[in-house]
């Protein structure tokens, strides 16, 4: 006899609310949670950076911070208003494309940020285009040949890569491909109006670095997901039906593992966006990560806030997508009783 159903201990009303009735409801609630998370994150970012010690006006004026000057600047920046009101105004502005003005250059942040966001997304997209299919193929192959020389080699290599900081991978590639072989430029200098071929050549090393880093993570997680599924009783049944390993992995395991694997892919894409900060710095690639690092160094808070918001949107979006897709691909939920 199966053990009797356990009483709900601890009670999880949230669980019931989320999984209670149907997939549409779950997806809807997951999207709602994503939006709420985004709102709370932006509030924390904004209010956190505003309320912590240090006054923006004093920071801007630096040496010339006489009390009169500070008071004047505070008024012009709207710093006399309560912080929640300034947050609402800021968020309202952001929603209309007005991200405020940079303290460092005085230019509107939107004009600084948007081209760079485009550069970063282009870099990430190129890396993803190579890394995702390659990682899935290699991950599946690695699982197919578990324990054999090829699998061991790919495991050792990928462990090595994920143990390295991104900048080591980047500099390694520069030394070999740029300094010694002279095949590719070591700087990822791109500018508006650049021809696509030249642009791609300049971006080759950053793309390659990002690809390698994400590839290693994705490959390992794909392999682990498939192998974890290998222990399921239905796999033993499939073997007892006389099926071979290839058929078992492709026809039996993949339909079950597709949800988790898609989640793995999206989580790694999200990771890639953060990893881009370091890679952009290594190659002096004009992306949003480099903008953020510059702004932090110069303590240009409005720019930092705007960059943080953009990263949060990308990250929360991909995470929400991962949750929703993992669910959509769950066979038990897709075909309800």
């Amino acid at each position: 006899m199966a053990p009797a159903a356990r009483p709900g201990w601890p009670p999880e009303p949230l669980h019931l609310l989320l999984y209670g009735s149907g997939m549409a409801r779950f997806i809807f609630s997951r999207l709602a949670i994503g939006l709420v998370t985004l709102f709370v994150v932006s509030a924390l970012f904004y209010l956190g950076t505003e309320m912590l010690p240090g006054d923006v006006a004093t920071a801007i004026l630096g040496q010339s911070a006489t009390p009169a000057n500070v008071a004047k600047l505070r008024l012009s920046l709207g710093l006399d208003q309560p912080s929640w009101l300034r947050f609402v105004n800021w968020l309202w502005g952001c929603l209309h494309g007005d991200l405020g003005k940079s303290l460092a250059s005085g230019r509107p942040i939107a004009t600084l940020l948007l081209p760079r966001l485009g550069n970063t997304l282009f870099l990430a997209a190129c890396a993803a285009l190579i890394a995702v299919p390659l990682a899935l193929t290699l991950g599946i192959l690695s699982a197919l040949h578990e324990g054999k020389a090829t699998d061991r080699a790919s495991s050792a290599l990928s462990l090595g890569i994920i143990s390295m900081p991104e900048f080591l991978v980047g500099y390694g590639l520069i030394i070999v491909l740029s300094v010694h072989l002279g095949w590719l430029p070591s700087l990822g200098t791109v500018f508006p109006g650049m021809a696509l071929g030249l642009r791609l050549k300049a971006m080759a090393l950053p793309i390659l670095t990002l690809t390698l880093v994400v590839l290693a993570h994705m490959l390992r997680m794909t392999r682990a997901t498939i192998l974890a599924e290998m222990a399921a009783p239905y796999v033993e049944m499939a073997r007892l039906k006389g099926l071979d390993r290839r058929r078992i992995i492709l026809a039996h395991i993949l339909p079950n593992a597709s949800g988790p694997i898609i989640a793995v892919v999206l989580l790694n894409l999200a990771y890639m966006v953060a990893g881009a900060v370091v890679v952009e710095t290594v190659f002096v690639y004009p992306g949003i990560g480099q903008l953020l690092v510059d702004a932090v160094t110069k303590r240009d808070l409005p720019t930092v806030q705007a960059c943080g918001l953009v990263f949060a949107i990308v990250y929360v979006g991909l995470n929400t997508g991962a949750d929703v897709l993992a669910l959509v691909f769950n066979p038990r939920l897709r075909h309800r009783r």
């Binding site: 201990w9 950076t49 010690p53 900060v277 953020l292 690092v293 930092v304 943080g308 929360v316």
Partner: protein, 275 residues
């Protein structure tokens, strides 16, 4: 050799040997380093020679000596951050699981919000506001990584709370102290130890990244990440100066990863079963 009642695998032994060597090098730095940490002893970026086994850095200091002394800064910052992350994460995670209900859900929601943004980005924002100093760095990394520890600790505790031996203790009328210290914690140790290693690696790489971005440990102190940052220009001259500290980072993370892999494989086995 045995640890936690299980035989060490060869990779784990290699990992432990590497880790012992690294920690030993850091501890013995003043005695084994050929030169002082800040002594200008040669040309800028001198190539490796008998006098300077790894060459010199961007100011003409001995690379090897710098590397040995930086081990101390690096490990201190990372270990302290990991301890902060663990103390906070485990305490709040267990508490959350034990209390349950609304408080648990509120804390979990807050943690989810913090985790909704990459650690590196949040860390950059905090450093933008508070400026860069070692205590700020340790606390920031510790608190941010505590969210990850919290998730694991809470999940482990929730898994154990529904175990029947814990219910038996609750039915006996035991207070929360007994339940946490005697019933839950001893069974959570293997998972937490593995997590400690994993967190160590993450924090290690993040601190290195921050220092590399020029936002971590500030001069005159240096950790390995900062040493990479200082020496990046050597790359285009064909020099290997930034590679030594970067390689030190990689070797340390690989060593810890090897041990963690072994811990996780041991932990997968049911507790109390002897080979």
């Amino acid at each position: 050799m045995k640890l936690f009642g299980s035989r060490l695998s060869t990779p784990a032994l290699i990992g432990i040997a590497l880790l012992v060597a690294i920690v030993g090098a850091g501890l013995l730095a003043p005695w084994i380093a050929p030169y002082g940490e800040t002594d200008l002893v040669g040309d800028v970026w001198a190539p490796p020679s008998l006098a300077f086994p790894l060459g010199t850095d961007n100011l003409g200091r001995d690379m090897l000596s710098r590397l040995l002394f930086a081990t101390r800064t690096t490990l201190t910052v990372v270990i302290l951050s990991t301890i902060v992350a663990f103390a906070l994460g485990v305490a709040i995670g267990f508490l959350s699981a034990l209390i349950g209900g609304l408080i648990d859900q509120l804390i979990s929601a807050l943690v989810n919000v913090i985790m909704a943004v990459p650690v590196l980005i949040v860390a950059l924002m905090v450093l933008a506001v508070l400026g860069t100093s070692v205590p700020v760095l340790i606390l920031t990394m510790g608190i941010l990584e505590a969210t990850r520890v919290y998730r694991l600790a809470r999940a482990v505790a929730n898994g154990l709370i529904v175990q029947e031996f814990v219910r038996i203790a609750a039915l006996r009328g035991e207070g929360w102290r007994w339940i946490v210290w005697r019933e839950i914690l001893p069974n959570a140790v293997p998972a937490l130890v593995a997590e400690f290693g994993l967190r160590f690696c993450f924090i290690f790489l993040f601190v290195a990244s921050l220092s590399f971005l020029g936002l971590g440990v500030q001069p005159p102190f240096a950790d390995w990440g900062a040493m990479v940052h200082d020496n990046t220009a050597a790359i285009n001259l064909g020099g290997l100066a930034p590679f030594y500290p970067a390689a030190a980072i990689a070797v340390t993370t690989i060593a810890v990863n090897l041990i963690v892999d072994w811990l996780l494989s041991v932990h997968a086995r049911p507790a109390g079963i002897k080979e």
